[in-house]
Each structure stands twice: as structure tokens, then as C-alpha cells.
């Protein structure tokens, strides 16, 4: 048993943290190895383990970074599963930004049954909640081919593709996409979608952990420096004890992320039981941390100008990505039965 990260991961985290403080573009992230860390050596990367993902995303979350790294891992991972080595190499080098369109309206957090389908080399249907599709180079789309969910590559510039894009609560963008006989290249089956979503869920949880650490640090700083009724507000015991509880819950969330990272490569049901346990706990904690950080700050935390605003939104958004607290609790119950 060992709860220390390898030296390589510590180094990656450290340099990532330093770089993100200065602001890093996509090429800089690729250069740092952020993208390579998401893939195994077999896939052309140098990581791909649950703890690689946890380390990278905790730092991205801490910095409040909005780069489409989750999408690179999720769509890139599926490309790897389909043997698209060249495209994976391009993803890792930063040359190819992919996005994944798998969700459909009316399914809520479920991944199926989908209705988008392939017919004669084109796909038609509607996809929902596609994160960071705007500006991507390649759309990976799930669609039915003879009633079986498969993966297709679609050029986002194809005339059959229509995006309606808005800002996303967690930062970045989110699109509804209509495919109307869009030209599609079939890559293979979508059988590994659940495994890749498990990894992406870990990424969201680790990112949330980093964001919670930032919210905690900002709140502590505020409690120490802001005075009211002639005293720092952090000297008020009622706030102290609530802050202590927040700190405890964040430690538990850290352990939950570790649990999932350590079980990411277990068999499907064991893995998904951990996915749901961790996502449920992290969702609850992110919600608590956001609300308590806002309340303990008071008015200033309600303003867009103060740096906590996007972090609070991201912490609330956590619960809406890849299944919320209740969805995962229900799944955990099924998988524990």
C-alpha cells in the first residue's frame, strides 16, 4: 500500500501547476505531456493509468483551466480503441482536437438507447450536450449501424452538421448538434464507450477536487483577511466549525478520487461501482463546497468579477456531467445488490 504518487507524476503535476498559473495554450499543454499522460504506452502515450488522470485533472481543476482535455482523453481514447493510431498520435501532439457526441435528448444521463443512425455512409440524428465541440477538428459520433451502436468520424465542417452552441456552466462550450445525412467514416464498435466514460468521470471528479481546493483556499484567505464587527470573520466560531467540516469533506472527496483511480481498470461492474460511489460523493461534496464558499464569503462571491464565480459554477456543474448524485446512487445500489 502506497499513497505517494510516482516521481514522474509529481513532476508533471508541479510543472503543470506552474505553467497553468501563467496561462497555458493547447500547444503548451501538449508539450508538457498533459495529453500524453492520458494514454498508455501501447496507445502511444506514457500514462493512461487512473492516477495519471487524477493528477492531471486535479491541477486543471485547481487552476480553473477550460481547455478541452477531457474531450481529448474521451474521444482520443475511443480512437485508440478503434485502432486509429495516427489520429491518436495527432491528439497527443496537440495537432488534432476531437470532441465526442454520444448523448441524445430525452435520455437524461443514460447513454442509450440512441436513435442517431448510419445510412449509406451518412449519419442523421440529434446529439446533445457535446462539450467543446466548437473549435474541434473532428467529431466522434455514436450512431446505430444495423441496430448496433458504432463510432463514426465526422468532419465538423460537413454541411450536414449543425451546431447550436452556448457557454457551458462548467466553462468552455456545449453544443446541441443536428446531423442531417452528414458524411461519416465508420471507425468500429462503441463497446468501449462505458470504459472511456468511466475514465472521463474520474477526470471530472479529479477536476472537481482541484476546484474544491481552490474554493477552500480562497475562502480561508477571505476568512483570515476580511473583517466585520471589528474582527476577522474567520475568528467567528460558527464559521470556523463549518469550515472544518468543509475541510473534512474535501479530504473524503480526495480519498474517493483515489479509490476510483485505483479501480479504474477493474472489471466493468467493480469499476462502475467505484465510478458511482466516487461520483456520488464528489457531486455531493462539490455542491457543499460551492454553497459554503459562497455563503462564507457573502456578497462578493455573488459577483462575476470575483474569481470564485466560475469555480462555484464549475463545482455545481460537476453534478450534471456523466450522471448526477441520485443517478449514481441508484446505479451504486444496483451494482451493490
Amino acid at each position: 500500500m502506497d499513497f505517494k504518487h510516482t516521481e514522474e507524476r509529481v513532476m508533471l503535476a508541479d510543472s503543470l501547476r506552474r505553467t497553468l498559473t501563467r496561462g497555458a495554450d493547447w500547444a503548451a499543454l501538449a508539450d508538457l505531456g498533459v495529453l500524453g499522460a492520458l494514454f498508455t504506452e501501447d496507445e502511444g502515450g506514457f500514462g493512461g493509468n487512473g492516477f495519471d488522470i487524477a493528477v492531471v485533472f486535479e491541477e486543471l481543476g485547481r487552476a480553473g483551466a477550460n481547455a478541452p482535455v477531457i474531450e481529448a482523453g474521451l474521444a482520443g481514447g475511443l480512437l485508440a480503441d478503434c485502432g486509429q493510431a495516427e489520429r491518436v498520435e495527432a491528439v497527443i501532439s496537440g495537432a488534432l482536437k476531437p470532441a465526442l457526441a454520444y448523448a441524445e435528448p430525452g435520455l437524461r444521463y443514460d447513454t442509450g438507447p440512441i436513435t442517431t443512425s448510419m445510412d449509406g455512409g451518412t449519419i442523421s440524428g440529434r446529439k446533445s450536450f457535446v462539450t467543446n465541440a466548437e473549435g474541434c477538428d473532428l467529431l466522434l459520433v455514436t450512431a446505430l449501424d444495423e441496430a448496433k451502436p458504432c463510432l463514426f468520424a465526422v468532419d465538423p465542417a460537413d454541411p450536414g452538421v449543425t451546431l447550436h452552441t452556448t457557454p457551458a456552466l462548467m466553462g468552455g462550450s456545449i453544443s446541441e448538434i443536428t446531423f442531417d445525412r452528414a458524411k461519416a467514416e465508420k471507425l468500429g464498435s462503441a463497446d468501449t464507450l462505458d470504459a472511456r466514460i468511466a475514465a472521463a468521470t474520474l477526470a471530472v471528479c479529479a477536476e472537481a477536487l482541484g476546484a474544491m481546493e481552490t474554493a477552500k483556499a480562497m475562502t480561508l484567505d477571505y476568512l483570515r483577511t476580511r473583517t466585520q464587527f471589528g474582527r476577522p470573520i474567520g475568528s467567528f466560531q460558527a464559521l470556523q466549525h463549518r469550515m472544518a467540516d468543509v475541510a473534512i469533506e474535501i479530504e473524503m472527496a480526495r480519498s474517493a478520487v483515489i479509490n476510483l483511480a485505483g479501480h479504474l481498470h477493474d472489471n466493468g461492474p467493480t469499476r462502475d461501482r467505484h465510478v458511482s460511489a466516487t461520483k456520488n460523493l464528489v457531486g455531493r461534496t462539490a455542491h457543499l463546497v460551492a454553497e459554503e464558499a459562497i455563503q462564507m464569503h457573502g456578497g462578493i462571491a455573488m459577483t462575476e468579477e470575483y474569481a470564485l464565480a466560475p469555480i462555484s459554477r464549475r463545482l455545481i456543474a460537476v453534478d450534471h456531467r456523466f450522471g448526477d448524485e441520485d443517478w449514481h446512487l441508484a446505479r451504486f445500489m444496483r451494482l451493490s445488490a
Binding site: 446533445s128 452556448t166 457557454p167 456552466l169 456545449i174 462571491a301 459577483t303 462575476e304 455545481i316
Partner: protein, 397 residues
């Protein structure tokens, strides 16, 4: 003990309902129901229709043109308005300044300002909070120095709600810098057009321009704009803060929110079944509904006691805490109800290029409302301040 309304109250409720059905424009109700910001024109229209009916200031004494509503009538009116998604009456003139003027203002002030509040000629905003003061109002720093027939005002106010629509502001200012804390504060009426006043928008976390900073640089205010006596402003401010607090629980808003939430939970599907059939979601909803049933009665108990001549004390604080938490829980459950549709974040103040939310209509501003209503446990004396008041009342420490 009788949980039923009197026939008179029931008749009044019917009258309110009829009025709302006839007079409330559907478009405005739609905006309110969806949690959208209203324009000044929309507010003015609604205030005007209420004023025609004599209901803009139903709680005012008849001598000033009001109806002298009982607390129960006021409650019924607010409850029905909330359920019908009528705009909230902007309180700064009608419900906040007016009672102060009626109690402490000069005859001239009453004669001039009160009719202008009713007619909509004046839109008042509130200059209480200051940056760095938060719930600690007594620490305010904005200075007013007497200079002949004028005060010269310098300083900064913040959290000025709808200040962008206002032509007047009532301010707490410090007139005696040597007096401590609550002493040495005065209550001034200021014309927003006076040179030296600058209003700067504050965009909130949900992207809305709802509050403002108001900066005062050598602003000349005629001495006749002082309310009551110099250095007695704290007395008037406290009067204002404790006046008409029976609506503080927001039961009407909570009820309207719960109704909307139930509609969402019937529309949203999970595994092809209405979300309301999901036992975990239904249990969350039921617990809130049960709590709301109890809060509504607690609120009515306080309302009835107010009509019985009992000024609500710590009870107001209890209603503020519980009411804000319940309303926030309803907003939070609405966010859960719309599921992944909470992700598209369309915020007018942040990105005006793209205001169309792709989800179902009820989802469009659900997350924004959730975010925006985090304020209700912070403003008007945070829940922490309220718990302090309750503690004093019950512990006597």
C-alpha cells in the same frame, strides 16, 4: 384555533385572483415564471395597473392613499401574486422608504414624495450597504458634511438593487464621524441626477445586471432632504428593517417554485418514465413540500400575531433563515430536475450574443435562478446574523 380564512379574507383572495387574471399581462408573467430579468417598462406597467386599483400600496394608511391592509390581507395578496408570477412590487419606494417618511418625514416630504412613489414618477433605490461592511451596517463610512444649506456627500454604496432604473436614492450617511458605531448616522434623500453620482453595474454570478455600485463625489444634497433629525438615522433604518417583515419567509415564492418544480418533474423523463416517479427524486420533493407546509403555517402564525398587535421579533429571523433555505432547496432541486439541461449556461450579462437556451423552456433559466438565489441567505442580514439574533432572544447570553 382555526386554520380557515374568514369569509372576508376569502373574498379578498378571490378579488386578487380576478384582478391578476384580468390585469397581469401573460408575457410579463411568463418572464417572471422563467426567472428572467424585467425591463423598467414592464415594472412601470405593472406598478401602474396596481396603482389604478389602489393596490400598489395596499398596506399604507388610508391617510396616505393606502388600504390599511391587515397582515393577513397583505399575505394573501403576496401569495396570489407569487403564484400568478406577477412581478414583485419593487419595494424600495413603496415598502421601505414610504413607511419611514410616513413615520418620521416632514409634512413637505410626505406631500411631495409619497404621491410620486404611487405614480411611478420616482423610482427609489437603497443606499445602505457599503463595500467592506456586509452585514455590519453600523460600520458605514459614506460621509455627509454640512456646508451651508447643503450636505456634501462622499463615499460609496454597493448592492444597490435596480439602481440603474432609479432617479432617487435614500442613503444612510455618517454626519458625525466622532460618534461611535450606530450614532452619528443620518438618513438622506438624494436625487440621482445630482452631479458627482456615478452608477456602476455589478454583474452577478448568474450573469445578471441586478445590483450596482453607487459612487458619490462631492455630491451636494439640500438640507431639506434630511429625514427626521440629524444623527438619528439609525433609528429610522432600524424601523425600516423591522417594518413589514411578515413577507420575509417568501412563502409565495416557495409555493410558486414548488408548483413549477412539480411540473418539471412530470415533464422530464428518466428511463422513459416521468422523473416524479423516481423514488429518490420524489422523496426529495416530498420532504421539501412537507417542510413548506410547516413553514407556511409558521408564517401565518406570525402574520396573525402581527394583526393581533404583536411585533415579530426573533420570529422574523427564524422565517428568514428557514424561508431562504427552503427556497434555495427548491431552486437546487429544480437544477437536479432538469438534469443535463443545467449545463448550457445562457447569461445575458456575460454573453449577449447567444441568448437562446436549447433545452425545454422551463430549463432556460433554472440554473441561473439557482445561482442568483444564493443571495437570499446573504442579503438583508445574512443567515449567520439572523442566527445571532435568534440566539440572543432564546439564550439571553
Amino acid at each position: 384555533m382555526d386554520l380557515n380564512y374568514t369569509p372576508e379574507d376569502t373574498a379578498f383572495r378571490e378579488e386578487v385572483r380576478d384582478f391578476l387574471r384580468d390585469q397581469l399581462p401573460a408575457e410579463i408573467a411568463g418572464h417572471v415564471g422563467d426567472g428572467e430579468s424585467l425591463t423598467k417598462a414592464e415594472y412601470d406597467l405593472w406598478h401602474g395597473r396596481l396603482n389604478e386599483k389602489g393596490w400598489l400600496a395596499g398596506a399604507w394608511p388610508k391617510a396616505f392613499g393606502g388600504q390599511e391592509w391587515s397582515a393577513v390581507q397583505k399575505h394573501i395578496f403576496e401569495e396570489e401574486c407569487a403564484l400568478a408570477h406577477a412581478p414583485r412590487i419593487v419595494p424600495f419606494g413603496v415598502a421601505m422608504l414610504a413607511p419611514v417618511l410616513q413615520a418620521f418625514g416632514s409634512k413637505a416630504q410626505q406631500d411631495y414624495y409619497l404621491p410620486r412613489i404611487l405614480s411611478g414618477e420616482d423610482w427609489w433605490c437603497q443606499g445602505y450597504s457599503e463595500p467592506g461592511a456586509g452585514s455590519d451596517l453600523a460600520s458605514l463610512k459614506t460621509r455627509a458634511v454640512r456646508d451651508g444649506d447643503h450636505y456634501i456627500v462622499n463615499g460609496q454604496k454597493t448592492w444597490t438593487t435596480l439602481g440603474q432604473f432609479a432617479n432617487r436614492i435614500f442613503c444612510l450617511v455618517r454626519t458625525d464621524p466622532d460618534a461611535k458605531a450606530q450614532q452619528g448616522i443620518s438618513f438622506l434623500l438624494i436625487d440621482m441626477d445630482t452631479p458627482g453620482i456615478e452608477v456602476r453595474p455589478i454583474i452577478l454570478i448568474d450573469g445578471v445586471h441586478e445590483v450596482n455600485e453607487v459612487w458619490f463625489t462631492d455630491v451636494k444634497v439640500p438640507v431639506e432632504n434630511l429625514v427626521g433629525e440629524e444623527n438619528k438615522g439609525w433609528t429610522y433604518a432600524k424601523y425600516l428593517l423591522t417594518h413589514e417583515r411578515t413577507g420575509i419567509a417568501g412563502v409565495g415564492f416557495a409555493n410558486a417554485g414548488l408548483q413549477a418544480l412539480k411540473r418539471m418533474a412530470h415533464s422530464e423523463l428518466q428511463n422513459g418514465r416521468p422523473l416524479i416517479e423516481d423514488p429518490l427524486f420524489a422523496a426529495r420533493l416530498a420532504r421539501i413540500e412537507i417542510d413548506l407546509m410547516a413553514m407556511a403555517t409558521t408564517n401565518l402564525r406570525v402574520v396573525a400575531a402581527a394583526d393581533g398587535g404583536k411585533a415579530p421579533g426573533a420570529e422574523s429571523s427564524m422565517l428568514k433563515v428557514k424561508g431562504s433555505i427552503l427556497r434555495q432547496q427548491i431552486n437546487d432541486l429544480a437544477r437536479r430536475a432538469i438534469g443535463p439541461w443545467a449545463q448550457p449556461f445562457v447569461a445575458e450579462g456575460l454573453d449577449d450574443t447567444n441568448l437562446y437556451h436549447p433545452g425545454p423552456e422551463y430549463a432556460a433559466r433554472t440554473t441561473n435562478t439557482y445561482l442568483n438565489n444564493r443571495k437570499i441567505s446573504i442579503y438583508g442580514g445574512s443567515n449567520e446574523v439572523q442566527r445571532g439574533i435568534i440566539t440572543k432572544a432564546i439564550l439571553g447570553l
